[in-house]
């Protein structure tokens, strides 16, 4: 089974976000970039499918050359190949989806695994877009997966419940927390991964379909009315919720 795993480089959530001079993107200065947490589940699932079914795991990211760092992490975890689609621009999700679809058309994987969402732009759109471009089925937000022959059975999280879905290979899967326990790469493997090759490709020619007009920071206008815990304070909270906020 040939498995393609898509991963992305994102700012750590604890990073302070500062808007850049263009007023449209973030200033990367001082921001720590990490492997998107959900993509660890995607890599792990790829490795487990390989253990069961044989084949190879290829990990791809569309991003700047600095994204090689997360490809090396995937190699250290056990991925066989790594591909960097060298695109420092990543103009929008459609452009990124087109680059991934181009690679898939050339390499014909049996399954493409994504993380549920990237924690920077929280779009949750890439798995569906790539599947539709390729004309493949997709099951998103998967928390349990079995593949027998070409039959795929997956459990997915939906609002207020779960559903069990069946489909066939080739297909697109997006990994939800709970699908597996991602392994930690061992130190010798981390060292070895640094010298493993990372293939480079040019991005798809597809043009972006959205344009950023601007980026702003939220003006936190929270009321910050902090009270004590006396009977009178609790009465006051109830009064404020009822009369001022009108939520009770």
């Amino acid at each position: 089974m040939n498995i393609l795993v898509c991963i992305s480089l994102v700012p750590d959530t604890t990073s302070k976000i500062v808007v850049g001079a263009d007023g449209k993107t973030i200033n990367p200065q001082g921001v720590k970039f990490i492997l998107n947490p959900y993509d660890e589940f995607a890599i792990e699932e790829g490795l487990q499918l390989k253990q069961k079914h044989g084949g190879t795991v290829t990990t791809v990211t569309v991003g700047p050359p600095t994204a090689k760092e997360i490809l090396q992490r995937a190699l250290a975890m056990g991925s066989d190949n790594a591909v960097l689609v060298n695109d420092s621009n990543c103009a929008d999700s459609f452009a990124v989806a087109s680059s991934i679809a181009d690679l898939a058309k050339e390499t014909s994987p049996d399954v493409i695994i994504f993380g549920r969402q990237s924690i920077d732009y929280d779009s949750l759109v890439l798995p569906g877009m790539v599947a539709e471009i390729l004309g493949w089925p997709s099951v998103t937000m998967v928390s349990a997966l079995t593949i027998e022959g070409t039959t795929v059975t997956a459990e997915r999280d939906i609002d207020g419940g779960k559903e069990s879905v069946t489909t066939t290979l080739p297909c697109v899967i997006s990994a939800q927390k709970g699908l597996n326990e991602p392994r930690y790469p061992k130190l010798p493997d981390i060292m070895k991964a640094k010298s493993k090759p990372v293939a480079e490709r040019t991005p798809s020619a597809a043009a972006a379909r959205t344009a950023v007009v601007g980026m702003t920071l939220p003006d936190s206008k929270r009321l910050n009315k902090i009270l004590g815990d006396s009977e009178a304070d609790i009465n006051e909270l109830v009064r404020l919720l009822h009369e001022e906020a009108k939520v009770v």
Partner: protein, 321 residues
């Protein structure tokens, strides 16, 4: 404009009513058309009060039978027939799954998880939270047709001042051999209680509750308020609460009218999931807990002492109203 609507047991889902309300503000005279798969006249009765002018009811299949790719095809085909420039979905589990496919079929831009829409159909700019709510991005589309998903609970559903009679027409589709995915079972967990992501009020508990058996304090307040129970990752990882209740970066994103955080410190990863809530209330015994920085109202106190009193007072108030 074309809106993908979803039926509920007594009408349409609240997120669907939010779509109709949001559409009114940007329709600029163009027709607001709904598309719903399998709904009765009674279920659609409410739509006119919100200003839905037209509704196409798809018969002959269900979303479960058709699968996400066929649902996207039905919506995209209808949008093409109508010459629609704007397609709206709720950013719930269905919308997140189907909207990206619909956009690709329509060769359209997709702007997901919007919290504001500006302009009129054909030239809408949308605002969406990025970097876990630490910034907002304003986007425009460069394609003639654009697909938007709207974050639930942000666009408040309001009845229209000018209610209309929705013109309902049905359209039968036959799903042929092209079924890509089939839903075999569909289980509703925590039956009877609301999902955190859909609830109007969320009461969440954290490690400050000390043990799983104390979560009844959180449940009681949630019941008194008619809300859902949420949890921090610390208590989910400890196995006290199920993952579906987790709020935050690796859990659910919620934006209820009121979010009550009980015994939760307010780590950035938790804030990532709830910072767009309209009113935030925090109860924590540590006056320096970061949660108070983002709170509208706070009680510095012990949850074991404060929660029962607060629940009793709120029950007393709501039973009088």
């Amino acid at each position: 404009m074309l809106l993908y609507l979803e039926p509920s047991s007594n009408g349409l889902k609240r997120s669907s009513l939010e779509l109709i309300t949001a559409a009114r503000a940007v329709a600029g005279g163009s027709t607001i058309t709904g598309l719903v798969i399998g709904a009765t006249e009674e279920q659609l009765a409410v739509a006119g009060e919100y200003g839905l002018q037209e509704c196409i009811v798809i018969t002959g299949t269900t979303p479960q039978q058709a699968g996400n790719s066929n649902v996207a095809k039905i919506i995209a085909d209808t949008a093409t027939e109508l010459g629609t420039k704007t397609v709206l979905f709720a950013a719930n589990s269905t919308g997140k799954d189907v909207a990206p496919r619909t956009a690709v079929r329509l060769q359209a831009a997709i702007i997901p998880d919007c919290v504001e829409l500006h302009g009129t159909t054909g030239a809408i700019e949308a605002v969406r939270p990025v970097f876990a709510g630490k910034a907002f991005q304003r986007l425009s589309s460069t394609t003639p047709t654009t697909v938007f998903t709207l974050r639930p609970n942000v666009f408040t559903a309001k009845k229209s001042d000018a209610p209309v009679q929705t013109a309902v027409r049905s359209k039968t589709v036959t799903i042929g051999a092209d079924v890509r995915t089939t839903v075999v079972t569909n289980t509703t967990l925590n039956q009877g209680s609301l999902d955190v992501a859909e609830a109007d009020i969320v009461v969440s508990g954290g490690r400050g509750l000390k043990a799983p058996e104390h979560f009844n304090l959180v449940e009681d307040l949630a019941n008194a308020l008619g809300g859902a129970v949420g949890a921090s990752r610390a208590v989910v990882d400890a196995g006290w609460r199920p993952h579906r209740e987790q709020v935050g970066q690796t859990g659910k994103t919620v934006s209820p009218t009121m979010y009550v955080a009980c015994g939760i410190s307010g780590a950035v990863q938790h804030l990532a999931g709830m910072s767009s809530s309209k009113i935030i209330v925090a109860i924590n015994k540590d006056k320096d807990a970061p949660i108070f920085k983002v709170a509208d109202y706070g009680i510095v106190g012990d949850v074991f002492d404060v929660l029962p009193k607060l629940t009793a007072k709120i029950s007393a108030l709501t039973s009088h109203n």
